[in-house]
Every structure is written in structure tokens, then in C-alpha cells.
């Protein structure tokens, strides 16, 4: 896994609390913060992307606006899913009609 350094300045009080947690759990402070941060980032990202996907699927925001907010890679993927979902439903309907005839 590629890593990059990211420094944080936190209050002395927060650092004292973190030390208490680390001592009680017998874990490394840095490792504990990394685990918590990863979980929080994952959950928050999913939550926000869910909201963005709601707006995009309901045509309340454009692909270009999505791109500006979260980057073109996600915007392209959202567009692909939207088009493929439409295509799946419409082609499925065509197949169903053909079966009925």
C-alpha cells in the first residue's frame, strides 16, 4: 500500500486523552488513530456519495458538477451506471414484449 505523510496538530488535552486510551487498550497511539480515521473516512465518504448519487440519479445535478465536486473518475462511473441502468430496463422491456407476441 502506497502511503503519504499527513501531519496533525492537536490540543494537549486531546493528546492526553489519546494516551489514556492507548494505555488502557495497550495499543500504539498512531495505529489507533489511523484505524479510527480510516473507518470514519470510509463511512463519511459513502454517506456523502449516497447523497450525491441521489441528486445525480434524479437529474438534480449534472455530470460536470459531480466532476467538479469529486473528480472525473467518479463522475464517469456515475454516468456509466445511469446509462446502463436505463439501457437494462429498456432492453429488458423489449425482450419481454417479444416474448409476449
Amino acid at each position: 500500500m502506497d502511503t503519504e505523510q499527513f501531519n496533525l496538530r492537536i490540543s494537549k488535552e486531546l493528546l492526553r486523552d489519546l494516551t489514556i486510551i492507548a494505555n488502557l487498550l495497550k495499543v500504539n497511539k498512531g495505529e489507533w488513530v489511523k484505524t479510527k480515521l480510516a473507518k470514519e473516512i470510509h463511512e463519511e465518504k459513502n454517506k456523502l456519495l449516497m447523497e450525491l448519487s441521489n441528486l445525480y440519479a434524479n437529474s438534480m445535478i449534472t455530470k460536470e458538477e459531480v466532476g467538479k465536486l469529486v473528480g472525473n473518475e467518479i463522475a464517469e462511473e456515475m454516468e456509466f451506471i445511469k446509462n446502463k441502468a436505463r439501457e437494462s430496463i429498456r432492453k429488458g422491456a423489449g425482450y419481454g414484449k417479444r416474448l409476449k407476441r
Binding site: 450525491l52 445525480y56 440519479a57 462511473e77 446502463k84 437494462s88 429488458g92 422491456a93 414484449k97 416474448l99
Partner: protein
């Protein structure tokens, strides 16, 4: 309809699980022939080892495996960035010139230009328009299928709901 007279579709594990969650495998078999690679059966058997939700769905899907068309697939054209099983399904669909039904976005995006791919919701509308289930039932089943909530599935769900309501 005889087995061989129905249109054939290649299914991956994700699509069979989605349709299994909605208890639709028997109905899907009424309107098409399910084609899979042996590795899909093996993936379902792995799921079925567990007594959780997906394990139970996999067991239910496997009840119908006798009527699936199961192939041992030689991968002649290997695509990067997708799994071995996905490569088998891609080759199977391409060789037989039939569409691939998958809810795996990564797989769908990587093979989209070479073969026809559709989400499992294709079968929902096919069932409605063929008169096998009602539109209301399809919307109810779509609710069950959306359970795995992430932003990707959320777009499929919203778009499918809008399209089915307009059928």
C-alpha cells in the same frame, strides 16, 4: 417453452444473487436459459457454506443448477483488471454471442465495448412485459434487490424505479 428454444444469457454470481434475493430464479428460467461457467457454480457453493443471508440465497439459487447450462471455459482473450471468473464469463458471452447479465460495475465497464452487458434489472422488466409478473410486483421486488446500499447500487435502484414506473 423447451430449454433450447429460449434466449440464452450468461449470468455472473452477482446477478444470480440479486435475482435470488428477490426469489426470481424460477421465473427467470421461464423466460430464458441461464448460462454460467463452472466457476460461478463454485462461487455460489462457497457462499452456500455460510448460514448467513447470502449463504441462504446461494443455496436457493443452487437448487436450480440442474437446469442451468454450465460450461468449462477456456480463456482465449484475457482482459486486465477483472478476475479469472469474470474473464471466463466474458469469453463465454463473446464466444456464444449472447449478453452478460451482471451487477458488477467493474466487470460491466471493462467489457462493455466488446459484449452486450445488462444489470439484473433487465430481467425484471422482461418479466413484467412478458406478463409473468405485474409492474407493482416488480417495484416490490426491486425494493428487495436494492438492499445492498452503496452509491453505485443507489443509482441503479433510482433509475430502475423511474423506468419501471413509466412502463
Amino acid at each position: 417453452m423447451e430449454k433450447d428454444s429460449k434466449d440464452k444469457f450468461v449470468f455472473d454470481t452477482s446477478a444470480l444473487i440479486s435475482l435470488g434475493i428477490a426469489s426470481l430464479i424460477d421465473k427467470v428460467l421461464q423466460i430464458c436459459q441461464i448460462v454460467v461457467s463452472r466457476s460461478v457454480i463454485e462461487e455460489l457453493q462457497e457462499f452456500a457454506k455460510f448460514n448467513d443471508k447470502y449463504g441462504n440465497v446461494a443455496k436457493e439459487v443452487l437448487r436450480f443448477k440442474e437446469v442451468f447450462s454450465i460450461f468449462d471455459v477456456e480463456v482465449k482473450e484475457k482482459r486486465l483488471y477483472i478476475s479469472e471468473t469474470d474473464n471466463e464469463l466474458y469469453n463465454l458471452a463473446k464466444e456464444k454471442a449472447i449478453p452478460l447479465i451482471t451487477d458488477d460495475i467493474k466487470l460491466s465497464r471493462h467489457v462493455n465495448k466488446s459484449i452486450a452487458t445488462y444489470f439484473s434489472t433487465y430481467l425484471l422488466t422482461a418479466l413484467v412485459l412478458s406478463g409473468t409478473i405485474s409492474k407493482e410486483k416488480a417495484l416490490e421486488l426491486l425494493e428487495q434487490m436494492k438492499e445492498n446500499r452503496n452509491w453505485r447500487n443507489n443509482i441503479i435502484y433510482i433509475l430502475s424505479k423511474i423506468e419501471i414506473e413509466n412502463l
